[in-house]
Amino acid sequence: MPLTILRVQKEPFDTAVETAPLMAGRGDIGAVVTFTGLCRDDGGSLAALEIEHYPGMAEEEIGRVVADACARWPLEGVLVIHRCGVIRPGEPIVLVATTSLHRREAFAAAEFLMDYLKTRAPFWKKQHGDGPQSGDWVEAKAADDAAAEKWGG
């Protein structure tokens, strides 16, 4: 069984600290892929994102997506940390890390995890700032649905 670390938290995270357990004491891991999703400032008009989530289901759904990835690729470790609450531009929102013996599966699994988390994990972003979109909820993108669908089943 791959080592899995899954968490929803308000606080920012330190990528090096969080990913260290995936490598600790291991001599067989050849590849580590990380994805960090950052809050963009939308040209300066965004002051903050407010991320609402469904406590309980968010963790469970991330777990299901991770289990799906582990069934598809021979992974040694998977880490998913998703933040909630108020996030300022430049701050990280989500961290996904995958480890494996070879690079192909670590890359594929990290991208798969992001595509699936985007469309399946119960998180919603509201925009705050001085732009015309302030107060609006971010709309789901058809491109994200298409990205998730390309993995099949």
Binding site: G37, I51, E52, H53, Y54, G56, M57, E60, E61, H82, I93, V94, M114, L117, K118, T119, R120, A121, P122, F123, W124, K125, K126, W137, V138, E139, A140, D144
Partner: protein, 83 residues
């Protein structure tokens, strides 16, 4: 059963959660949406575009034709925008 609302569904309903007791004729998620819409303008507004609102039964995604059966918790929310 417990009903939870998130994001703009929550804002339009005006509640984060509530206890609901739908009649026995309400079998599916779609039935429940129809029943909720009859409860007031706020629900009408939240479910105006039923195709857009997603549902989860006991914390797992479901389609409108899913049977509610013995589920203890149902949640309604817009398409997810995390990540």
């Amino acid at each position: 059963m417990r009903a939870l609302y998130f994001a703009w569904v929550r804002e339009r309903v005006g509640l984060a959660e509530e206890e609901i007791a739908p009649p026995e004729t309400v079998k599916t998620v779609a039935d429940l949406v129809a029943w909720l819409k009859g409860r007031g303008e706020n629900y009408e507004a939240a479910f105006a575009n039923e195709m857009t609102v997603r549902a989860a039964l006991d914390r797992a995604h479901v389609k409108p034709d899913a049977l509610i059966a013995t589920a203890r918790e149902i949640a309604f929310f817009p398409p997810m925008t995390g990540g």
